[in-house]
Symmetry: C2
Subunit: 144 residues, 2 copies
DNA sequence: CTGCACTATATGTTGGCCTCATATAGATGT
DNA sequence: ACATCTATATGAGGCCAACATATAGTGCAG
């Protein structure tokens, strides 16, 4: 009603500024750090699948926490293929739109292992910074 | 010696690809997500200071885990000032290069609180994705 | 006296990512 | 016929970290 801020599950309401002003950190991935690539790798580890199914698998694997943009997902799959981490081919013709089947290569499995390390580091740094901020806010007691 | 990879504490050796190829994820903040702004806010919560000192404070607050680029730090401080989260002025003339003193505004404190929420979310998602990947890798037992 | 390292502030540039937008095409249900 | 879902894809904007580069003041060692 008179709540003019967005509530569509995207970044509008989750802007770090906590305001309705145009959020300056919802593009370019600098907000959270890359997520689509590791999510795609996780889904592919569960077995070969087509793009649309991988997106669904990501949602299931993360209990609905991650809903990756299909545009970004296909872009990542393409790039991972050009880099040799994924292999894909058009699936046999059946009813419905043409499907492309994606499968992880051995190098892709190694890449996934690398991402675990990277994500743990991000988790650690995020927690560390959140702790530092929390303590600093607590010390800076209201004096007004 | 014959180890051709970098070892200068930057992202070279920490590339998510785990290879010596030009790491494609060490620029644009997409690697870890934004860190300079919350770190700057944390340092400013400790009291007004000049830029160079804030960088040192960040190092201390994070036990050496974070060594922010001075270029980026000054850029963030400037932007935070134009956005009203920080106030600064040239310090009185003394020996040495000219210094600028930065101080958090009330809005800046609110912004810092918003960053705690954001960082906890990033911590949570990073941990979730790392868990998902770890479990998927464990299930995909070596069959070769 | 010179050169180097530190202090202190700053701008330029590049590459990658997320988000949002838009597009094409096949199938199904109302 | 239209809306929705399935399925694949490209374009564009904005942000960030990292690296580079610049200017200027100071102190110290050789």
């Amino acid at each position: 009603m008179n709540d003019e801020t967005y509530h569509d599950g995207r970044h509008h309401g989750a802007c770090v500024h906590g305001t309705a002003r145009p959020c300056c950190r919802h593009a370019g991935g600098a907000g959270q750090g890359a997520l689509v690539e590791p999510a795609a790798l996780a889904a592919l580890l569960g077995g070969a699948a087509h793009g649309y199914d991988l997106r669904r698998a990501i949602g299931e694997l993360t209990n609905g926490q991650l809903d990756v943009d299909p545009g970004g997902l296909y872009r990542v799959l393409r790039r991972l293929e050009t880099e040799g981490f994924v292999v894909s081919e058009w699936a046999g013709s059946g009813p419905g739109p043409q499907r492309r089947n994606y499968e992880l290569s051995e190098e892709g499995r190694d890449l996934a292992e690398g991402w675990v390390v990277h994500l743990r580091e991000r988790e650690r740094l995020s927690g560390l910074l959140a702790d530092v901020l929390t303590e600093a806010l607590a010390k800076e007691a209201p004096t007004e």
